[in-house]
Amino acid sequence: MQQIFNEFNLRPESQGGHGERIFEVINLEPINHFIRSLHLPIDVTINKAVVMMWLSAIVAFALIYYAGHGRGLVARGLKNAMEAIFQFVKLDIVEEQLGHAGQSYLPFVGGLFFFILFNNLLGLIPAGFSAGSNLSVTATLAGMVLIVIIYTGIKNQGPLRYWVNLAPGGLPKPLYVLMYPIEFISLLSKPFSLAVRLFANLLAGHIVIFSMLTLMFLFGLWLAPVSLAVATAIYAFEIFVAFMQAYIFTILTSVYLGQALHPEH
């Protein structure tokens, strides 16, 4: 125990520790990775995030396949849980926002929901890693959403009408010089906020759990029960956050899809 304590010697540097370097432990690798990935020879190394994404895709597919196949009219246990979640996505997210005509978007929105949900949940398993706490992953998801929104709008309103309908009609003519740039920026800020929201929530959760655990190394091991209890409570809250963020991401996606499907006049 003393060895661990020495290794995490987080006292300020003036007292012989290296507390100032605590952020090197957390390191902001997700952001640096994103910035590196903007340079041209694209980094396609198979890292932790990629493996966790594969894993969560496999888990999501396997669970849904298991819930959808098999005999028996009444679902029980795990099947019932998957059915309830799927029902929620279908009725409360897709049909609520897109109406009955939006059924064809259920595979996209539902796929996003289950992928993000299992990404978040797998990150909560000890030694696991949440791919959502990497900005590259969430930015890719949000970019995909942006492409689908623009494609939906163009398909439903025509290539020219879509861009005309971006700004609300019935305003004085000179105002449109101002409105179109603003509306265009707001269109681009939608996926930006989607990406940063998911990323920030997951990263912040992990950092808070980590900081709560480091409290006992900062103040001494007598604080261990308190710090463990608080960390466990935050861990439980993180399970709620995992569901919440998957819900927020998909409901905002379907709200934006609804705006593209039924424009304001």
Partner: protein
């Protein structure tokens, strides 16, 4: 002070002040939504969905300041 530069101070101020407005906004939003739900419990489902969308939009303003804070911190 060696090792501490003003960018760190700025990053703390950015997230602190940037979270102030959205915090008040989310509080007002949830308060009003709860009021509505208490008055008309049969509307609770619809109000809840609208509330979450509103929270997400208010929250995104705090997230912009979070990005600025991170950018300043890693400077």
């Amino acid at each position: 002070m060696e090792g501490i530069n003003l960018a760190h101070l700025g990053s703390g101020l950015a997230i602190g002040l940037g979270a102030l407005g959205p915090g008040v906004g989310v509080g007002l939003l949830v308060g009003k939504a709860l009021e509505g739900m208490a008055r008309q419990p049969e509307m609770a489902g619809k109000l809840q969905v609208a509330m979450f969308i509103g929270i997400a939009i208010a929250e995104s303003i705090a997230l912009y300041s979070f990005v600025i804070a991170i950018l300043l911190f890693t400077k």
